[in-house]
Amino acid sequence: MELHSGSLDTKEIFGRWLDEQAKSNYGAYIPFVGTIRAEDGIEALSFDIYEPILQKWFDEWQERAKVLGAVVKMAHSVGDVPVHTSSYVSAVFSPRRRVALELIDEFVEDFKANAPIWKYDVKNGERIYAEDRSTPMDGAGLLK
């Protein structure tokens, strides 16, 4: 897992992960690249991350992947990321395509639901919490 300040260098990450696994004999490599869409007049999105819990979340996914003979990877931006640049890359390597296709779907969906990352719209230099697009994590409401 890697966190970067600002936009991700997607090509560098794609190539580096490919090279790292070049001799691992995985038949399928599926990256997911998330790019900031220009919409609602935003200039950028901005991200807060709570790293200790994100790391635990990611470590559990590595264990899940390992049981399937697969590997997961993840990179995310911290701070402002301008529109048309990327804030998120995750990936699965697996010997077989079915495992890889199913795992990337589950990994990305669980990331959206449970990774401790908060998103803000940046408009006129102001940071506005993207509350309408945010999801309460599993177990939310415990203290209500």
Binding site: G34, F47, D48, I49, Y50, P52, I53, K56, H76, S87, Y88, V108, F111, K112, A113, N114, A115, P116, I117, W118, K119, Y120, Y129, A130, E131, R133, S134, T135, P136, M137, D138, G139, A140, G141, L142, L143, K144
Partner: protein
């Protein structure tokens, strides 16, 4: 003492409270008016591990994190 920290957009400074279970923490936090809109949609971590049980017992020096709705990606 138990430290309570509020993550992401909540924007509240950390608190130090006395509590022996998570249920005690709930009672204390409900007294904080500015948390009114947050508690029903926030998840909770104890020492950086997600927790789901109000009877969880706390000890001196524990850290509670309050995690509002997320949107990575």
């Amino acid at each position: 003492m138990i430290k309570v920290e509020f993550l992401g957009p909540i924007g509240k400074t950390p608190m130090e409270i006395e509590a022996t279970t998570l249920a005690d923490v709930a009672v204390k936090l409900k007294e904080e008016q500015e948390l009114g809109a947050w508690l029903d949609k926030c998840a909770v971590a104890l020492n950086d591990t997600m927790v789901n049980d109000l009877t969880t017992v706390l000890k001196d020096g524990d850290k509670i994190s309050i995690l509002p709705p997320v949107c990575g990606g």
